[in-house]
Symmetry: D2
Subunit: 151 residues, 4 copies
Amino acid sequence: MQSQRTSVRVRYAETDQMGVAYYANYFIWMEVGRVEFCRALGFRYRDMEIDEGVLLAVVEANCRYLAPARYDEEVIVHTRIEAATPRMVRFGYEMRSSEDGRKLATGETKHIFCGRDMKPRKLPERYRALFGIGGVRQNRPLANCARGGLV
Amino acid sequence: MQSQRTSVRVRYAETDQMGVAYYANYFIWMEVGRVEFCRALGFRYRDMEIDEGVLLAVVEANCRYLAPARYDEEVIVHTRIEAATPRMVRFGYEMRSSEDGRKLATGETKHIFCGRDMKPRKLPERYRALFGIGGVRQNRPLANCARGGLV
Amino acid sequence: MQSQRTSVRVRYAETDQMGVAYYANYFIWMEVGRVEFCRALGFRYRDMEIDEGVLLAVVEANCRYLAPARYDEEVIVHTRIEAATPRMVRFGYEMRSSEDGRKLATGETKHIFCGRDMKPRKLPERYRALFGIGGVRQNRPLANCARGGLV
Amino acid sequence: MQSQRTSVRVRYAETDQMGVAYYANYFIWMEVGRVEFCRALGFRYRDMEIDEGVLLAVVEANCRYLAPARYDEEVIVHTRIEAATPRMVRFGYEMRSSEDGRKLATGETKHIFCGRDMKPRKLPERYRALFGIGGVRQNRPLANCARGGLV
């Protein structure tokens, strides 16, 4: 799996008086994207927290806004892993309108694996292959993900 | 102390495309109101959670919206305890514009005390007097709180 | 159509440090519920705003919390119209876990129809039948909606 | 004025089940920071929207998270203009705990000036000096703002 595709519909709560989705909400959509990415990889992020006590703490996040997302619009979030080691993972995102395919935003988040005490720890062995760590995952550039659909 | 007065300023994030504060945010302002109420009573709600493991779980919440709150408007939240027992507490709120004093909304939240396991438990003795339980607290009707200022 | 069924998945952003969904978010889920209700009725709320300049301003909202909703849990929101006139509409909601069917919360929101100026106005004729106004809509009690599934 | 200092207190609503402030909220605090920055410059952002029809649309945002912000913690947001032209402005932010001064996060947002139609437009002349455009504003590096206090 190269990138995971999920969708969110812009909620009224997420708009602001500019008549578009408020900028902080894109980071929530990225969260939805990476959770669904994990589910597609074959595990629930929730279980990793509960069973292993492993948390994905965000250390960096950014977003570039290309076109406004409107109320009730369906936004397709393409999520992929850009880099991963036993200590950190970086996700890349591309958000597009489902109606006309126009690109709304791109973003990245970088996370470190840590314990419930918020101290860094290594990702348990059994999850590493899923994140493509130490493996043969071939990451194509993110630009491909929209062209390639649900790649 | 009869009611506690605190203020919030409407954030851009809290507006929606109707150009007014989105209705769910009033419940967040009520939270700000009751936390400041606790602080005025002489304790931090945070400490009660950390030190005693006592949580205030919401079991009921309602709000009546009288006039829209606008972006960047300062909203005065008057908070008071309407009823309290060792098992539950009910807060009442009145929100007014600081600019012209017009009433924006009124609301109530009812909470039960519970432990970290979300199971009901009794409020520890040392907090009871603060909540006016078993004591002589005289609650005047909420309508008075605006008239009486920072009563 | 008696009630409309839609689902939301609890986002990490929607949890709080109590480890459950924060109480104000239920009102956002109600919004998702009534928007999907409108879509099921045959129109987009968005279009009613854009084409007719008719807004649904909330004048009252309440929620009773019966069991906590957890992160990543799928919540089924059953939405129905409880009452409607050309000037106002009242929605009722019931939220259940999709996993075990336990009831999480019930709620209501009351709205008035108004224009962009936030002044009350009557719902245009063409939408009235959809809301069951002046018509033969038979509302069964909300309690039935879960039993009856997607009634 | 070099940087503007304002504070927010972490709301329960803003925490997540990790027990810290959810990462998207830092972008809301940046909004609070730049609105207060404008107020300190001598104008209300709200008025610029209403009177001039000039909006500050975000085109890029990023945040680096250095230490978690906890519930009820007071966060000092230092805001400054890093660059400004008649077409865009870039704000820089530094967030610190008021209790122990530890740095929690740094961030930037880049905005373009646009009209209600979301099309780019130039900032009206009367606002340019305020933003330090075409003027003599000397921006010291952001790193100084904490050292220099309320510079």
